[in-house]
Amino acid sequence: MVDPSHKGKEFAPYSYTIEPGKVREFLLAVGEDNPVYRDSTLLPPTFSTLAAFWGGAGLEASLNEIDVEISRVLHSEQEYIYHAPVKVGDTITGTTRIADIYAREASAGSLEFIEFVTDYVNQDGDLVITDRSLVIVRE
């Protein structure tokens, strides 16, 4: 069981500087060969996952804080809202909170859902991306 009292919990903010080498590695890993990402400082749509995993303690540590083991977790939904441009070289700071925790009965047994919402601001303090991530915890 995920303790429902964690709903509303806010994790420590984390910062991530978007390094060109790491972006290049990410582009190669997802087969993103559009030359625009090589020839400009623009970033592909899901790049902020780098900040989520490399910027702070990462998802695994956040899950540990609420006593959930990462291998029991599956990603159910992911949404990004792009408020303002982010480019290579920017430093973004994310603050993640648990927006919801709920259970649902399914054929596979009881499934628990945790909704994480992260707002990222850039080095000027402008809101750039909202990341909403829904995960399933398997019993």
Binding site: A29, P45, T49, Y82
Partner: protein, 143 residues
Amino acid sequence: MTLYFEDVSVGDELPELEKGPLQEVDLVRYAGASGDFNPIHTVPRVAQSVGLDTTIAHGMMIMAYAGKMITDWAGAGTLRQFKTRFSGMTKPGESVVCRAKVSKVIEEGGEALVMGRLTVKGKNDDSLKLKGDFTVALPRKSG
């Protein structure tokens, strides 16, 4: 080539994007690049311990493919919103096909917006991997 708002109509289909067949090492590479080291993506023994028959691809890797389809068509930096629901697992050996269709075109808040719905399915069995929706802001020919 720039895609303009005036070039887009409801019902238009985006060019399909096919990826795969995925190799085990692609999952390892994505784990290292993204920093998502959940072992169900890379270590068969752990995947089996939670009831899977083998490792499964990161949903975010499949979402990145869908994102590539969108920005190959609309241009980098045009996305305003992008959402996916991960419906099925993708395993090594599978190929996937990303498809999308324009569902709405509106002018709102001074921006020319195009919305669409997308799917990613297994190439061989048509199994649904993810579905989602997106909004891009496009330039107008009139400027």
